[in-house]
């Protein structure tokens, strides 16, 4: 567990902050997630798993492996408990924004007073400073403003967003990395405490602005052009063409790669046309014509043939595929990429981390679930064991979740903070849930 010993307090909802602390938990950090009594809003967003309780799949993905505390930080006992937790944590990850904390009487200055070494990672759509900092933003608004939406779709039709809340996932990834760097800096005494303000808009617009330097330097206006990257980014081809079975992504930016592509096609007559000798010239004037030639060739090739050609000639030319095929992909299986989660009697495969770690003592276990899975398999009837082991081979890691309800660990956490049974009963008074 690489991040063993780091204590994270998450006050987050939906995707950005929960994904940040999920990544840190995957690497071994100890995460306590605080939810209000009506829960993280993501709990209400489907698709849902019908198990012991109706459960949001995405909520399960992003929040398993965390301790869950139900707390009303806007009440006075809630605030007190929150500050006690702050004093025992290294990093606070939140996505409500600085003004929320001021409004409820818990300004960051007070949080820093409670723990002078705390790192605060604040993940909001537009950030805590700047003219739009108070603006309301969902993911599509962030991507629209950052220039990404204008890049996607056909030129004569409306622009569209990229799917699956990329701005918030990307923000979470940035937040996780920044949290560890800031914590290291505090650990080394370079800094007493640190506040990191990462807006989803900053992240996405910084990516797209960087890539635009390729386009703008070539006088190409970076804008949606259907399946083709704007102006082929100045080096033909950079597009998606239809293969026999799947759409094929094809990109040859390096010097000589287009030539190799035509060789892979058997150097057809058209490729000797003097107009088609320079990929930059093709991108400017002949992309449609050459697309037609290339697509004629590609449309006859199966995905397997495409992959073979790509490997043989060393050119980037691959089928576009969806989750169903990724789940069967032998490379992902070999790398034990997937994570298996079991809930309500069913198992679900979800994405894992995209890297493996080893040190001089050998491969590193990113979490200890694998050993548990082996133990767990021992109690199952034979066919189930076989199935589970097969899955285990495939996934590398398996985790069984029995309870992921709001405040499932409240009592344990409150006791750990020194609360007595009677004071916990006091918190429980209004209903059967414990939420100070």
């Amino acid at each position: 567990m690489l991040l063993k010993g780091i204590k994270i307090l998450e006050f987050g909802c939906f995707i950005s902050a929960p994904f940040a602390s999920k990544l840190l938990a995957d690497m071994g950090a100890d995460v306590t997630k605080i939810e209000p009594s009506n829960g993280d809003s993501l709990r209400g967003i489907g698709p849902f798993i019908n198990g012991p309780q109706r459960l949001s799949g995405l909520f399960l993905s992003l929040n398993h492996g965390k301790k869950l505390l139900c707390l009303n930080v806007e009440s006075s006992p809630g605030r007190e408990i929150f500050l006690k937790l702050v004093s025992r944590s290294d990093i606070l990850i939140e996505n409500y924004g600085e003004s929320y904390w001021e409004k409820i009487g818990l300004p960051w200055s007070q949080i820093k007073m409670e723990n002078r070494n705390i790192v605060i990672v604040s993940l909001t759509p537009f950030g805590n400073k700047g003219p739009y900092s108070k603006y309301h933003g969902q993911e599509i608004n962030v991507n629209a403003l950052s220039g990404i939406v204008d890049c996607i779709g056909f030129p004569d039709r409306k622009p569209i967003n990229i799917p699956f809340h990329q701005a918030f996932f990307q923000q979470g990834l940035n937040g996780a990395a920044a949290a560890v760097f800031a914590h290291l800096s505090v650990m080394n005494g370079k800094d007493r405490s640190a506040v990191v303000d990462i807006s989803a808009f900053d992240v996405m617009s910084s990516y797209v602005t960087t890539h635009n330097l390729i386009y703008s330097t070539r006088d190409i206006f970076m804008k949606r052009e259907g399946r083709r990257a704007a102006g082929s980014a100045g080096a033909y081809p950079f597009t998606i063409l239809q293969g026999k079975e799947s759409p094929i992504a094809i990109m040859c930016p390096a010097v000589g790669e287009f030539k190799i592509l035509t060789e892979a096609m058997g150097s057809p007559e058209w490729s000797k046309d003097p107009r088609y000798q320079n990929p930059s010239e093709i991108s400017r004037h002949y992309a449609d014509e050459v697309d037609a030639h290339v697509e004629e060739w590609i449309s006859k090739l199966s995905d397997k043939e495409i992959e073979e050609i790509s490997l043989k000639f060393g050119i980037p030319l691959y089928p576009i595929r969806n989750v169903d095929r990724i789940l069967e992909d032998e490379q992902y299986g070999y790398r034990k990429y997937f994570k298996e989660i079991s809930y309500g009697g069913n198992s679900y495969t979800i994405p894992g981390l995209p890297f493996s770690c080893s040190d001089i003592d050998g491969p590193f276990k990113q979490d200890s679930d694998r050993a548990e899975a082996e133990e767990f398999a021992g109690f199952y009837p034979c066919s189930a064991v076989a199935e589970l082991l097969a899955r285990h081979m495939h996934a590398g890691r398996i985790e069984t979740i029995t309870d992921i309800s709001i405040g499932k660990d409240s009592v344990e956490i409150l006791k750990d903070l020194g609360n007595t049974e009677s004071s916990i009963d006091e918190f429980r008074r209004h209903d059967d849930k414990v939420h100070p």
């Binding site: 920044a178 989750v323 990429y337 080893s358």
Partner: protein, 401 residues
């Protein structure tokens, strides 16, 4: 204030690898870009801007120093050239490795091994070295030879197939998401490795796959696959969790407003601006969403984008105009957040440089421009490897550096 004191050898080329090194340089690390004097980073070969000012003696070949993109993803690094096909060159590099903390590379799988720099070998040179390899598919396995760029990692990783209009996949190649995403996962892995080293004194080998790095962002796609058969694939907008989540036309040509409504309170805010919404029976169905969409379109179509943006935000409705990236530098928020700055490059003049999108309280990164090819080779030989002038002359004569 510095977040890293590490010395990092950056073997990266193109985008993902160099971007990872660039972010580390922003965080304070001393990042040394290692290049072959004969076959430097391919991005150097792309013709960039016209050279405005005369060579000031540090530049070996001006044509390698003209691209703002190269300047960006290599900002703040030191430049070191060494010919690794020569025995003395390899020895020199090993000497430098012995004085470094981390190595970043994004060659095709196995290239580092073939250079004689496998992790097993590297730990013999420097016991606690951190190595981050970032190929498309990972170093080992049946498809480790997959070669590619962003379009390959996003295509194979499962994102592109889900971008497009209903049932009509366009992909989103223009954005080239795979590269910065791979770099950011690389930075996350490095952060974990630095912490591990701080705590245990041990180095780490990280084998990252860029296509997996895309898949790791697709949790929602996995749940659709498991729970809602037939929902995957290109969809202009997905309904789950939203009443409205789409772009709407504003007055003018190709002007659009992204509007998102996910709760009843926001819907009330919207209906204060567009009263006709109140009459639509609240069913939560697709037809309900379509009718609201139609009402919004009627309202936005004859208003200019600025007005729509302001009115919606004032009424608590998440909204933002669809901006073109070329117009971002004029946006007041983009400016205030200091996401990018104009800098003056000594050879090509003014150009945009993009900052690490993390705002640390009281911290502004201090950076130098990207190094010219091999610009700091002599400085590094003197200051880090304590070579004498005579030794350096000999290395130059033998064309090792």
């Amino acid at each position: 204030m510095k977040f890293s004191n590490a010395r990092v050898l950056d073997f990266g080329w193109n985008w993902t690898g160099p971007m990872t090194g660039r972010y580390l340089a922003d965080l304070g690390a001393q990042v040394i870009k290692i290049e072959s004097p004969k076959r430097p980073d391919p991005i150097r070969y792309i013709p960039g801007k016209k050279i405005k000012q005369a060579d000031h003696g540090l530049v070996r070949n001006p044509k390698f120093e003209t691209h703002p993109f190269f300047h960006n993803v290599n900002r703040g690094k030191l430049g070191f050239t060494v010919d690794l096909t020569k025995v003395e060159g390899k020895a020199l590099l090993e000497e430098l490795i012995s004085k470094s903390d981390a190595i970043i590379e994004n060659f095709s799988a196995g290239v580092l091994d073939r250079m004689g720099l496998s992790y097993e070998r590297l730990v013999k040179i420097k016991k606690d070295i951190i190595v981050v390899s970032m190929s498309i598919a990972g170093q080992k396995g049946p498809k480790n030879k997959i070669k590619g760029y962003a379009a390959v990692s996003t295509g194979l990783g499962g994102l592109e197939a889900n971008i497009g209009y209903d049932g009509e996949c366009t992909g989103g190649l223009t954005f080239a998401y795979g590269d910065p995403n791979g770099a950011m996962f690389g930075i996350f892995a490095l952060a974990c490795a630095f912490y591990h080293k701080e705590r245990t004194g041990k180095g780490l080998y990280v084998d990252l796959s860029q296509m997996e790095a895309i898949t790791s962002l697709l949790h929602e796609a996995f749940w659709l696959h498991h729970l809602v058969p037939g929902e995957l694939g290109a969809k202009a907008h997905r309904g789950d969790g939203y009443i409205v989540n789409d772009v709407f036309p504003c007055r003018g040509t190709d002007k659009w407003m992204a509007i998102s409504v996910s709760d009843p309170k926001t819907l009330i805010g919207l209906s204060q601006l567009i009263p006709s919404i109140r009459g639509i029976p609240e069913e939560g169905t697709q037809s309900f969403r379509d009718k609201i969409g139609k009402a919004i379109t009627e309202w936005t179509s004859d208003r200019v984008s600025d007005e729509v943006f302001e009115l919606l935000q004032r009424n608590g409705v998440p909204a933002a105009p669809v901006l073109n990236v070329n117009h971002l530098p004029d946006d007041p928020h983009f400016k205030a957040r200091n996401i990018a700055e104009i800098v003056d490059h000594p050879l090509v003049g003014e150009e945009i440089t993009v900052n690490l999108p993390w705002q640390f309280s009281g911290y502004h990164p201090d950076y130098d421009r990207a190094p010219y090819l091999g610009e700091h080779t002599v400085k590094i030989l003197k200051e880090i490897l304590s070579k004498s002038d005579a030794e350096i002359e000999e290395l130059k004569e033998k064309e090792i550096i």
